[in-house]
Amino acid sequence: MTCTLIAPQIDDFLDGELAVAERSSLEAHVATCATCRSIVDAEQRLRDGLREYGEATVPAPDVLFYDRALARAARDGARRQRNRWVMTGFGGAVAAAMALWIVGGVFFSAPDVLEPGIPSVTMSLEKPQTFNLVFASARALDNATMTVFLPEGVEVAGFAGQREITWMTSLDEGRNILPLTLIATSPVGGELLATLRHEDDDKTFRLQVQII
């Protein structure tokens, strides 16, 4: 092997990507050629320097940085997820397979139409009221995700202070009833969103909540 043939192979040699026969041939040449040996040594020093540079130049994150980042991702990521679902709207197999009715349980009032097409209910302050979310599914669904986004001043009983609650659920074929006990804590009200997600499909249901 000659010096001319060695040069293009030095990178592969030092990166450990040369075949055994070529590697042996190159090593034999370098052992007897001072010029090529100095080139290989210089390339090796550069690699050693870059490896050391890599070890020295990335500052360690603060002790709690990962924990804080994960917590913030959960908080902001969930909000982003909610926005994406709402913007996605109704589509796909889930939309085709399901329908939802929101029916007053303990208390029911005839819906007032605040926005055309969006049902509404009226609640009294500090009085727990149960509403049944009724899903009709054309087929059984496993591992669906249900998320309820609450308007200001409305809480789910047992989840004080939370505006968003998510849980995994499975739906049977036919009617599925989810009782949801709500408490109005301030006279604000607004829109309650219930988003059902299964695989890549999602469907968001809207309900106007009025508080008196």
Partner: protein, 183 residues
């Protein structure tokens, strides 16, 4: 946080946490400084949180996460670049952000090591962005070329060519400042 939210958060943590060190180092290599690296890192975690279902099905989540980070950085490079310009102007000379190295040899040797690292830092700053990235990922971070291809989408042949030219340019710069012999 409800038990359901807690479960989702716990699943996300369990899937992502083993890859955080690698992801953090990549964010630093892309952004070039700690404040912007932390922003990039945070942005990517927030972006993937709603995709927990996708993450569960990924065979190699580490590579997938790195690819998302790289693409996010490329898509938003103007924003990060704007931030970086401010920081560089505040930093002054290349190498200034290297505060110390782990010293386990004698002080003279450690001092030489620090000098070499700072010269290398200055030399790297003279490379184009694509050359600097490939040499940092391959030679400093230990990525294999096919792993860099997975992250960046650039073919191995192109990466190999960039790596060769980047190293040659580094040697040229280091030779000029007397750190390395020209050979």
């Amino acid at each position: 946080m409800s038990p359901i939210d807690h479960q989702q958060r716990a699943s996300f943590d369990a899937l992502v946490r083993p890859h955080l060190d690698r992801l953090y180092r990549l964010s630093f290599r892309l952004a070039g400084n700690k404040p912007e690296a932390e922003d990039l890192f945070q942005d990517v975690l927030t972006k993937i949180y709603p995709r927990l279902n996708d993450l569960v099905d990924i065979e190699e989540p580490g590579s997938w996460l790195c690819r998302i980070m790289y693409n996010h950085f490329i898509d938003n490079r103007r924003r990060y670049a704007r931030q970086r310009l401010v920081v560089i102007s505040e930093q002054g000379l290349p190498g200034q952000n290297i505060e110390a190295i782990a010293g386990n040899l004698d002080p003279v040797v450690d001092s030489e090591r620090l000098d070499n690292i700072m010269r290398l830092d200055a030399a790297l700053s003279a490379l184009s962005e694509e050359h600097r990235l490939v040499v940092l990922l391959h030679d400093s971070e230990g990525y294999k070329l096919n792993e860099i291809q997975e992250v960046t989408g650039v073919p191995v042949g192109t990466l190999k060519s960039r790596l060769h030219r980047a190293r040659a340019r580094l040697r040229e710069i280091l030779s000029a400042d007397g750190t390395e012999s020209a050979d």
